[in-house]
């Protein structure tokens, strides 16, 4: 339950970034009203919302049975997923050092999962 929630959250972040990046490219005028409207009209932002709601629902169910200090750090697995997906989909350059850091975080998550 917690793992599905974490994966959905990471996917949600990718959708959000995609949506906001598209928005940034298309923007022509200022105004907070038009910005909010623009955000609300972005399909990717909607996808983010759906993933976010599902992830939150699963999170609540999972958290009911687990320690917060156990479940919450497992979300760090999202770093691993987001780095992989950012590199794949946005072609953000992820260098070797960052991959090493991702590996360290992954190790930490595994330790917590086994605690």
């Amino acid at each position: 339950m917690i793992w599905i929630s974490v994966t959905l959250s990471a996917i949600a972040q990718i959708f959000l970034k995609q949506g906001l990046s598209k928005l940034q490219k298309n923007r022509t005028s200022g105004g907070i009203g038009s910005m909010i409207l623009g955000v609300a009209r972005q399909p990717y932002v909607w996808l983010w919302g759906i993933c976010f709601v599902l992830a939150t629902a699963l999170w609540l169910l999972g958290l009911q049975k687990l320690d917060l200090s156990y479940a919450y750090p497992l979300v760090a697995f999202g770093y691993v997923l987001v780095n992989i997906m950012s590199a794949l989909f946005f072609r953000e350059s992820v260098n070797r050092n960052r991959w090493m850091a991702v590996a360290v975080i992954g190790l930490g998550v595994m330790l917590i999962a086994g605690s």
């Binding site: 955000v39 169910l61 156990y70 780095n83 975080i105 930490g108």
Partner: protein, 158 residues
């Protein structure tokens, strides 16, 4: 007027000159245009929100053991503390959205791991959860990973 906004941004976030140049003149100014302000606010809201949620779920656990999965979710979400926690958490997400619009995800996301340290120690303090050496070293590794990630491979240094 528009050029004024663009100038302020370039000065207030020198690490993001490239981003700022790409970013059209926009309406979110002042504090919110400096990514670390919405980011820090998001951190505080997210941690506090989760403490509220967990606290409320403890009460819900006694009454919601059966029923369909969505009814259980609804039951949980309607606990006053859970609802308040979710609201605070949403506020944190809003701040996160504002920060994410200004910085790359693979840069901001690792920084938010500070939330995990805060949550773990707060869980121990408020809910008396026992922190095993394994769990603490796991969190330590996450923080180490965060530091590694932010020392090298910053967006602005590439």
């Amino acid at each position: 007027m528009n050029s004024n906004i663009a100038n302020t941004e370039a000065v207030s976030s020198p690490l993001l000159i490239e981003e700022a140049a790409k970013w059209e003149p926009r309406s979110l100014r002042g504090l919110l245009s400096q990514w670390w302000v919405p980011f820090s606010a998001s951190s505080i809201f997210v941690v506090f929100g989760h403490l509220l949620i967990k606290s409320g779920l403890g009460a819900a656990a006694f009454t919601a053991t059966s029923g369909s999965i969505w009814m259980r979710v609804l039951h949980c979400a309607l606990q006053p503390e859970v609802a308040a926690g979710l609201l605070v958490y949403m506020l944190g997400s809003l701040c996160w959205m504002i920060a994410v619009a200004q910085q790359e995800i693979s840069f901001l996301y690792p920084l938010s791991s500070m939330n995990y340290v805060l949550v773990v120690f707060a869980s121990s303090a408020f809910f008396h959860e026992s922190l095993s050496a394994k769990r603490l070293s796991g969190v330590g590794l996450i923080v180490l990973g965060m530091i590694l990630m932010n020392r090298k491979g910053r967006v602005s240094e590439q």
